[in-house]
Symmetry: C2
Subunit: 393 residues, 2 copies
């Protein structure tokens, strides 16, 4: 066995024995915010961490080498998209998602549920699962807890998300309770489905902005957890159209009630403001398409707030997009050049803007983690907000 | 003065004193093929060399860092495009094209003539210059020898191309002769226009596939050259729709008649077959959009011939695009992955395909140069052609 193989085996064994155990490293007095870490077969994840989204087996417009330099701790792959195209069985035959997309760091795959409920048409939900028409070719497809686990097993991700029913933002209480009960039954079926030895399963809590429903659902999840522990807990069903104040009020009360010894993942969130607020509430993991999607539209996230590179005022601007940023785009190119690339419709514009937005977002959680470790998180949060609001980008 | 600045000053001085002098390093017995080198302020160019095209201040879909790894000796920028957008005066205010696009190697800029004659509408040619409507916004524009020199001076390229009239492929002899005479008068005006001290001017020979007209035009150019030498000679007006056999017959006779002590540049050529044939005739420099354009359409150039990554037979193919290629795309990803990226419409597909096609094309001229230096060029050319034709890609 080569030295490298030995190391890999050691890491897998270590992570299995650790069971994704979350090690809390710091927590400011009286605040739920925390830094921590947990091991996976493809490396350790240091939290808080933002996960770039690699929907179709690539973080859009960015190569794995560029992504490595940006430095996320873990990235996300989409079960719905990859299951349909190129197909999870094909990815498995080619050695799994890590090898297919040439990313050897940790990968989290979602369950496919969110996309089935948001992208597909002709959707019919049964207790067994969901039938739907593919958004690519209209073909009839089926997703169930067992099928979601099978896809994620074929992809070989490190973190597997349980399949949940994703109710619309403003569903009434009675319907929401029925949906949550089904999510719990699906969670039990996910737990009963075999995964690869290196994979950890995260449960998803629903309940909209109803704090009592969130707590009820968490109780149901913890009953299952007592029999066979989950490796993490996710807060789902937020940032789906409800008022921002309602989401924040829910998070402020609820995140701290999640088991402290496992990572906490706030799904599909979000803006820099959302990340800062989430970190303050004790969230460990975030994901969102916002940084890459905004980048492709020329909208840059900076330490001084948002910046639209299309604006004529950047046409002659020799400064980098964000003078406080050390990413490849900011240390190499002027705003004038990024403005030109956007106006000329050059692909490199999408790439450079994506590199910057991801660097900013990943950097925000990394800086938050550092501030937590050094006991200056409240000060960090205050200064970050001040900078967003007091200077022109 | 910093050490780096000293080095830069030394290089500029060296190149000025050398006056772009072409140093022939090898020439197989009885063949016009040759390896050589010449100095510019931004580094030495080793020939034969293929120049990737950076139309709008970026080689499409590829970052300067990725381009550096691909390793071209010199790249091309477009005077027509950059003069219209973002504007050459703006590029000058921002420190020139090298700094604007973050490419510190040699840059050749074309004269803008070819694009005026192929892209713009409402074109009117006078002795003074050409008026035309911008393809971007229809605005009225003017290009003359002096204006072309001004744009290229503002861009600060290392190699400046003289403005020529670009006649259509099958123009009759009388009209072609009149056009060539105007090109000669324009060449004299280009020569009379001041350039930056580090810039070298290349003259362009026209004459279609008429060998006698080519020779007449070369005589006119050499008359000007005797008064104030050009730094290189280009063969223009080929690969513009005439039959391939006619182009090759012209090159086979004419290239060897160009002055041997200056670089010879075959403009807008071409396919791997064209590059190999051109190298055999003694061409030193090539440029073409083909590698990057084909890449964006999923067509890959390989040592075993062309390959269409869209084809279903690549869907499950674990091999790299070209097993003989060491580029980032080939050493990192399978054909199945490239096929998936193309089908899914992911930008990374264009980037990886472009990296490969440019690596292949730049590598072909680099390998040709090496074979020339080692005295095995005829064998190299024969084996390269055999491989293209005998195996399935």
């Amino acid at each position: 066995m080569t030295f490298e193989a030995k190391i890999r085996r050691f890491v897998i064994t270590a992570s299995q024995s650790a069971g994704f155990r979350f090690k809390s490293e710091s927590s400011p007095d009286g605040l739920p915010a925390r830094a921590g870490r947990f091991a996976t077969a493809h490396g350790e994840v240091q939290t808080p961490a933002f996960m770039p989204v690699g929907t179709q087996g690539t973080v859009k417009a960015v190569s794995p080498a560029q992504l490595r330099e940006i430095g996320p701790e873990v990235i996300l792959g989409n079960t719905y998209h990859l299951g349909l195209r190129p197909g999870d069985a094909l990815v498995a035959r080619l050695g799994g998602l890590h090898r297919f997309m040439a990313w050897d760091g940790p990968i989290l795959t979602d369950s496919g549920g969110f996309q089935v409920f948001s992208l597909s048409s002709l959707r019919r939900i049964h207790e067994e699962g969901v039938t739907f028409a593919s958004h690519i070719d209209g073909s009839r497809q089926f997703l169930s807890p067992e099928r979601s686990m099978e896809i994620q097993r074929n992809l070989g991700s490190d973190i597997v998300m349980a399949l949940d029913e994703c109710p619309p933002g403003q569903l009434d209480r009675t319907k929401l309770e029925a949906s949550m009960a089904r999510t719990t039954r699906w969670l039990a079926r996910c737990r009963a489905t075999e995964l690869l030895s290196h994979q950890g399963l995260f449960a998803i809590n629903q309940g909209g902005t109803h704090l009592d429903l969130r707590r009820d659902h968490l109780d149901q999840i913890l009953e299952l957890d007592a029999k066979a522990p989950f490796q993490g807990f996710a807060v789902g069903g937020l940032s789906v159209g409800e008022p921002k104040e309602a989401m924040n009020a829910t998070l402020a009360e609820f995140v701290r009630e999640l088991p402290p010894d496992r990572p906490r993942y706030l799904m599909g969130v979000g803006t820099p403001e959302d990340l800062l607020f989430g970190m303050e509430q004790g969230v460990d993991l975030f994901d969102c398409v916002l940084p890459t999607r905004e980048a492709r539209h020329g909208r840059l996230l900076t330490s001084r707030g948002k910046l639209n590179i299309k604006n004529a005022r950047h046409r002659e601007e020799d400064r980098p997009a964000d003078p406080d940023c050390g990413c490849y785009a900011c240390r190499t190119f002027s705003r004038a050049y990024l403005h030109h690339l956007f106006r000329a419709g050059e692909l490199l514009g999408s790439t450079l803007n994506s590199i910057h937005n991801l660097s900013y977002t990943v950097g925000l959680t990394r800086a938050g983690r550092q501030a937590l470790l050094e006991g200056r998180f409240p000060d960090f949060a205050r200064r970050t907000r001040e900078l967003w609001n007091t200077e022109e980008p």
